[in-house]
Symmetry: C2
Subunit: 400 residues, 2 copies
């Protein structure tokens, strides 16, 4: 059953430093198969672009844009946080776009929520017998996508976090009596990002303590841990997930907002712990929030992550051309001593809305640092130094 027609690509959810590398992968692979895929469109602001027929033609991308895009952070096509169906007409409207443009291939690049959108889209198109391949391309710095060994975006975020924590550790060595530094790291439900701070420890300058949402947080134990480290080293570096919660499941963080998916948006855990350490232990303490930089600091991308992101984009196209649909591109790690991976497809049902948690065995017994298993898992993901386009000390990114 050979489908011919046009294709559309969209970006969804939070931006990362390498999602545009995936976009470039889709573009380059589609261009290799002009006989089957005529035009590749890009949705403006994800699924909203498809609903509103707000698409751009990727043949309009300049050579310069294509050269810089693989190194450009953000979401070049525009992203969106929008859950299908927003209103009852969404499906009919996007079907009209697909028909009008003769689109037979859909590629959606995102995380768990985007895979949910992908799955609903696929189910609807099957239901109305509109012949179309739907493939999800993984992307999330959170690394919580089920079905893939890791997600593009994670390696680069992990590298930034490790380098940051290492720099802070250097800084904190300067004075005779150091501070308690509390580094607040993204991660509402999972500790993958916070755990990556431990990679700095391989250099001998990493966090002393790591707390993740998967392990119930106990304030008394925390204060005890901090005091113990401080007594020994005259300083202490804590990496903590924004989403840590107590044994009852309640967030420790004091500030909460809610996003459009009714996910809780957290912040302020660093400051909350800073206050507690100051008040109870009377130690000089400073909270540092890595904030948005975790997902957008392109100067520190991992070259392996960038290459894998590009490859996920290319594979999405080649899978679709082989007749695969209703699936997400996933990375499977080979059980070999050196790092080797293969790309495969997994059903969207598996990937969508299932959260991949940091396994308990990747943390130590006390639950306040990672285990060797995590280091072996994460270290290969931050490898490689990209040749970033830079001029006069300023990084060059693609522009609209």
């Amino acid at each position: 059953m050979n489908v011919k027609g046009n294709a559309v690509y969209g970006q969804s959810g939070g931006p990362t430093s390498v999602i545009n590398a995936s976009f470039c992968g889709v573009v380059s692979e589609c261009r290799k198969h002009r006989e089957t895929i005529g035009t590749l469109y890009a949705m403006r602001h994800g699924i909203r672009g498809l609903i509103d027929d707000d698409l751009s033609d990727t043949d309009q991308l300049s050579e310069e844009q294509l050269r810089l895009l693989p190194y450009t952070p953000g979401a070049f096509c525009g992203s969106v946080r929008y859950r299908l169906p927003g209103d009852g007409n969404d499906y009919q409207k996007l079907l009209a776009t697909l028909k009008k443009r003769n689109i037979r291939f859909i590629f959606l690049n995102g995380g768990n929520d985007s895979m949910d959108t992908c799955m609903k889209l696929s189910a609807f198109l099957q239901q109305v017998h509109y012949d179309c391949r739907v493939i999800g391309i993984p992307k999330t710095i959170d690394n919580d996508l089920y079905g893939s060994d890791h997600a593009p975006g994670y390696g680069s975020a992990a590298k930034f976090i490790a380098a940051t924590v290492q720099s802070i550790a250097c800084d904190n060595e300067c004075y005779h009596t150091g501070r308690v530094n509390i580094v607040e790291i993204m991660g509402r439900d999972t500790g993958w990002l916070t755990a990556s701070a431990s990679l700095a420890g391989i250099t001998g300058r990493g966090p002393d303590l790591i707390y993740v949402p998967e392990i119930p947080f106990d304030m008394t134990s925390f204060l005890h841990d901090v005091q113990e480290v401080y007594n020994r080293n005259h300083r202490c570096l804590v990496a903590v997930s924004e989403g840590i919660r107590d044994a009852s499941g309640a967030f420790i963080s004091t500030e909460t907002k809610t996003d459009v998916f009714r996910h809780v948006q957290l912040g302020g855990i660093g400051r909350a712990l800073e206050e507690e350490v100051g008040k109870r232990l009377h130690l000089p303490t400073r909270a540092i929030e890595l904030s948005l930089l975790q997902r957008c600091f392109a100067p520190l991308i991992s070259e392996r992550d960038r290459k894998e992101a590009a490859c996920c984009g290319r594979r999405a196209v080649s899978f679709a051309l082989k007749g695969i649909t209703d699936s997400m591109v996933a990375i499977r790690r080979r059980n070999t001593p050196e790092y080797r991976i293969v790309y495969q497809s997994v059903p969207l049902q598996k990937a969508a809305n299932t959260v991949s948690y940091l396994p308990r065995e990747m943390m130590n017994e006390k639950g306040n640092y990672v285990s060797e298993a995590f280091l072996s898992y994460a270290l290969p993901l931050i490898g490689g130094v990209p040749s970033l386009p830079i001029s006069d000390g300023l990084y060059q990114y693609a522009k609209q």
Copy 2:
């Protein structure tokens, strides 16, 4: 009058990404002049090391340490914030150290306060007729050292700030309706660091508004500026100094602590403005504090800054050998189209305790962005990409 003897080097004040490059410069130049300078000692924790005779012998540095040190952030010798004389015996104690070790050359690496220490030390040694050269080596990310075109440390901090603001601008382009991002940048009294955010604007992705301590901050004008930008672009990026103050000179920031020099330590201006924008303009707003990373994020050092830092260290030694004392190494920029500098010595009295403010002509007329004059001044300082030692995606820094 040829002095022979040993030398001592010390680091003082806040660490930077390139102060250890200056240290290496001092080490390499001293080693070239063994006939005059026998041993170069390093003070542990700055002037405290001299008072307490807590010195290390730099001949003990390994090849590996010397290879990595020029790229290692922090203050490898240990820093201190201590103002002479802490107690009446300080001078007698450090004189005892100097005599015991036959130290005839003193190099102190730091900012305004360190130059004050240098000056007092020099005056005391002259008073007691202890023959010794005292040379200050400039270092401050704040760039507020009087007598030098710019200070080593500033270029690297400026490059980090520009790259960060550019990344945040990319991130904020993703959604149809963007945020007001307020980036809080160090700078208690001067706007040099905050102004450097504007370098990102050369790439087309920079801040929309810049507020510095030198120009009185007016909340009504600020809110008006933000609303105007937001109406035009659906997003707004603000770079603001922690030390902005109102027309009466009172800090806008709500959080203040005091350091040992009775300088006010600020923080929280980003959050204060975030709250104001949210409450008054009802716009989605996010404050981002760059915090310690501005002074310690070695992966983004400016190669020019690193080289100049090393050169300041070497020149300190060669100036002392020429008989210069009671002076600081300073950078003078030549009035040429291409960037050219010369190193010179300036009397410590000029450098110590005088603050170099961002000149008014480096800001625009409205006082809410830089002028071309600033861009011409700052752009050369962030140039060059260093060959950072990196292995498995992890930066390699010197260890004790």
